[in-house]
Symmetry: C2
Subunit: 476 residues, 2 copies
């Protein structure tokens, strides 16, 4: 029988803190259920719950509804956050294709430790159920769908996407949705429909290199905005830019910018929308990471805050479910007709069967179950990766603390050369993304992006530790 | 027992000619086998064979190896060929999007008699086997392929395409092939890689409206070349153009131009290639109809004649196998690197599973069997359609005689208005393509395109006859 003392819950919580400190309980680990630990530690259920709640209040544990208690990630840990970027105050012609092609080639090389590619691994995504729906659809209805679908895409898929958009806070009809070949085509359609060669586009800094590559191919200039690793872009700089120079569009992540992981607060998003509206500059938002949030609620995209009045929304299922299916979508509001014309000219329409299969998968509710699973895994992965970075990288390394997505941004001292690290790491069989591909002006050479999109294992953990040691050697 | 007289075969052949004349045996119909007719008509096998051979010699029947005897198409029949086009000698800004969107909307309306859409019907294409391969691949290997494939496309598919290219007369390696979202993306990549907004592109006249739409969206101008319904473009006009004006590229059908069905003779193709080479103007060729030839051998594409030195080859499986799969390809030779960069920017890569399934289907040899079947059907369809046009359209209607593909081009007297016919026909539940969408300068208003891409049936035959009567009424 348990000796019930007023301090029993304190003893239990101290025990847990000790196990975290000595590494027995790694960040992100799920704790035994309240019932299980009460039996293990011979305390009452209320005492166990009291201990867990105490640790939750002090930020050591986090609770997740219907799931239990987890060791809080040490991302709110010992290493500082990267600084707010300070890009040059001018639009840059983009010339990044060569670097991007090289990176993509290495990132897809499965012989390397995969820290370079920001796409969840197939083993982690577990697409079996979706694939089986595709197989059944092909067998039963293949002939019916062996025709061009409407250029807007299959109606059933557009309906499911519209339903999900409604849950994310913006009311839409299927007619507002156009299916694309991933978010890449969505962004290209948006940019080519509203801007032209030579125009200036305002972007985050650092930002996704694929966007910079698209700007280069379309002959548009990038104006890089100072961006904070948690709060997102500096609105005052954008405001000054809009007052002084013509800007054709602004392209921002809706949430969890790649590579920073930053997400603007809702109040800042509203301010930004007002500012852009006043200057009649459309916002193109990229929400591919929006479904991978670690908080209890999905953070709102911009379109949910302005009703699509001045917003073109782009997203895809590539980061959360099916990179191999290449299905994305765009909601272009006032620009929908022009975007449709460009879709017709660029690719006519998207393949039918994958769309139909995905629609059925979404309608079944399986996507939500799937998202709950991968959110938990990716959150844990980021915690473990942060822990491994803290243990092996130079002590003055700064690391981002994203509340969604699956990449970390590392900032090292100014003299550090991530290109040199990249070359060394490749020799040792490790791939990551060097910082300069995330900037039109090739800044961030002292930074790098690590992706935690693979199932965690010893090879990955070891890869990070070896990378950290290499970074130490290069700095020494 | 048969009464054997020296004229028995003559009586049989007269009987057959009579049945053709009164419409019992329609053009393209397959005759009973020699054995079957000898039993039916109580003649010996040699007599039956003699009768068939006599009719073959006089052009009434045609024989096909391993298949039997068919009523010859009357396409070499009573109606004259359309005249060679005479477009204005200047580059035109294209403005065709509205007309194309309207046409596509009607063409996909299954309630209408389907003479408007130049894509073979799913019932005719019989994609069951391909769909089953896709189903099996998705079930067995779905997870393996749930990743971005290389931007060039799946290697196995590129290998199969390279093998087929070799058979068509041009040696290639898989590295020369880049997979696209249909021929539409291939053409867009080619054009955007080698030309820019404001540039002049030389095209056939009439030409595929999708190409004109793409030129419009890319902001390029179309210089329409006089084109003959059998021999293709007038090289001398192109030569004068190249001597006087800057031309960024020339876009031509490899064979069986849509809508004319024209195919240049090999000797003219060689002349053209020399001319373009001399002026350093690249040729973009669109070979989507190349596999649907009615002669014994596949006519060569341009790339087989210049080895790809100055040619960008674009094609797809949309016209011959799987419009719903949206798989095309481009072989861009010297421009391959730039095209790859544009592919990355426009759509990153194509969906994996459909590519893998198609590769397996091609490797099995099933595509060749499939092509033999649909070539025969489409040839017969065109013959029947020509017959129905002769029977119902105004006597001075001119009709093309393509030796491949599945569309017919009709030219009516100058005062005829195919837009008025289009509106009337829609009211009567019939869709076709009015002539003006095939020209940047909106010429050919007295012309129309009919597609024979559906399984022949009474509804289609009746639709053509009613369309013919409408045309007569409008002209009267």
């Amino acid at each position: 029988m348990e000796t019930h003392t007023p301090y029993r819950y304190k003893q239990l919580s101290d025990l847990i803190v000790g196990m975290i400190a000595n590494g027995t309980l790694a960040p992100g680990t799920r704790l035994p259920s309240v019932r299980a630990i009460s039996e293990q530690q011979r305390v009452s259920i209320s005492t166990a719950l009291q201990a867990y709640r105490l640790l939750e209040d002090s930020g050591v544990l986090v609770s997740r509804p219907q799931s239990g208690f987890y060791v809080a990630t040490t991302r709110r840990g010992t290493l500082a956050l990267p600084s707010t970027s300070r890009p040059p105050v001018k639009a840059s012609t983009v010339s990044i294709s060569g670097a991007v092609a090289t990176l993509l080639e290495h990132a897809s090389n499965s012989a390397l430790v995969p820290l370079g590619c920001a796409v969840p691994d197939a083993t982690l995504l577990q697409s079996k159920r979706l694939d089986h729906v595709l197989a059944r659809t092909a067998r039963q209805y293949g002939m019916r769908y062996n025709a061009y679908c409407a250029p807007q895409g299959e109606l059933r898929l557009r309906q499911e996407i519209a339903k999900r958009a409604m849950r994310a806070g913006h009311a839409l009809s299927p007619e507002d949705v156009l299916i694309t070949s991933g978010c890449t085509e969505a962004l290209t359609l948006a940019l080519s429909a509203i801007a032209k060669r030579g125009d200036t586009i305002a972007v985050e800094s650092p930002t996704y290199f694929g966007l910079l590559h698209t700007l280069e191919v379309l002959g548009m200039k990038a104006f890089e905005l100072p961006t904070d690793p948690t709060r997102g872009i500096d609105i005052s700089v954008l405001s000054r830019l809009l007052d002084t120079k013509p800007v054709a569009a602004c392209v921002l992540s809706s949430n969890f910018n790649n590579p920073l992981g930053s997400a603007m607060a809702e109040i800042d998003k509203k301010l930004l929308l007002k500012l852009l509206k006043r200057h009649d500059v459309p916002l193109i938002e990229d929400d591919v990471y929006g479904d991978i949030y670690f908080s209890s609620d999905r953070p709102k995209p911009f379109i949910a805050l302005d009703g699509g009045e001045n917003t073109i929304y782009c997203s895809s299922f590539s980061k959360s479910l099916a990179p191999g299916y290449r299905i994305g979508w765009i909601m272009a509001g006032l620009h929908a007709q022009k975007v449709l014309e460009h879709k017709l000219a660029f690719s006519l329409c998207s393949p039918s069967l994958p769309q139909v299969a995905l629609a059925e998968f979404l309608a079944s509710g399986a996507y939500d179950t799937h998202l709950r699973r991968i959110r938990r895994i990716l959150d844990e992965n980021l915690a473990r990766m942060t822990h491994a970075i803290e243990a092996s990288f130079p002590g003055d390394t700064k690391v981002s603390r994203p509340s969604g997505g699956f990449v970390l941004w590392l900032e090292l001292p100014k003299r550090f050369d991530s290109r040199a690290l990249f070359d060394e790491a490749l020799k040792q069989g490790i791939c990551f993304a060097p910082g300069d591909v995330f900037s039109a002006s090739r800044r961030f050479r002292n930074c790098l992006r690590l992706s935690a999109a693979y199932e965690w294992n010893g090879r990955i953990e070891d890869g990070i530790r070896r990378l950290g040691r290499l970074a130490n050697t290069l700095l020494a």
